[in-house]
Amino acid sequence: MRKAVSIILLAIVGYYMFSVFLSMPFGEKRDGVGKHYLENTLKETGAVNTVTAIVVSYRGFDTLGEVTVLFLAATGLGAILFDKRGKKRRHQYASLIVRVTSNILYPLIVLLGAYVFVHGHLTPGGGFQGGAIIATGVLLMFMSYRKFEANHKALSIVESLAGLTFVTVGLGGLIYGGSFLFNFLPLGTPGDLVSAGVIPIIYIAVGFKVGAELSGVLDTMLKTIR
């Protein structure tokens, strides 16, 4: 009886989900607000990458909220799992091949992450992607060297400074331009590394923040197992 009821309910939900899915145009028309963004982004924000311009400039306030959510998640995880002594991890290294390879790959992965968030306004990617890539590099080191530990004090200082930069730039926009996160710096030549006003500054701050938070989360979680 219960199974029959749940199957019927699932069928109803599935039918409506499927009909909504069928009525959605998939990657066909670009009109409405999307068209406005595609046509005006370059002259309004100076960013070549439209996605970045939307994430950081038009919808910058949402990004601040997302960064705050990630910060809250990392803080909550640390509050529940962080043990000051930390379980002593077994000092058993990975094999020689893994260690040598990760020694070579770690700087390259961190460099790729930094490249992705520094060039956020020019190429695909940005703060979140770059931060996540840096965290995967740190994860590689955690897996190869059991003694490799994150300095939580340094991580929290980096995190706080990055968050402070984001809010300060936003308030600067409020003072000089009249709205939060207004692009008050000169836009420069589109396509240059130093262009698009405040967008690179904010994305570099987001990159540092996300990288530090995810590395801290991984360190906290790995300390709970031996």
Partner: protein, 82 residues
């Protein structure tokens, strides 16, 4: 049918196969590997659908970070499903 459509079809079939593989395994570590295969294929699919930034996120978070978090959780609980 263009080559791109055939490629997308193959990728989708691989994704569904990996998902079925993941939910039928009793060994949860192998099931987690199945879900990370889904993420790899999904990131290629995002790249084909002209969303390279989403593909980057999916590759970094779906393949590396969420997999390791699942592995840590399994290490702290039971490895085999009853």
């Amino acid at each position: 049918m263009s080559w791109l459509a055939i490629l997308v079809l193959i990728l989708v079939v691989v994704m569904v196969a990996a998902a079925i593989f993941a939910i039928t395994r009793k060994d949860l570590i192998i099931a987690v590997i199945g879900t990370s295969v889904i993420s790899v294929v999904l990131s290629v699919l995002f790249y084909i659908l002209q969303a390279p930034d989403v593909a980057l996120t999916e590759a970094a978070i779906g393949v590396a970070l969420s997999t390791i978090i699942f592995v840590i959780a399994i290490k702290k609980t039971d490895r085999y499903e009853e």
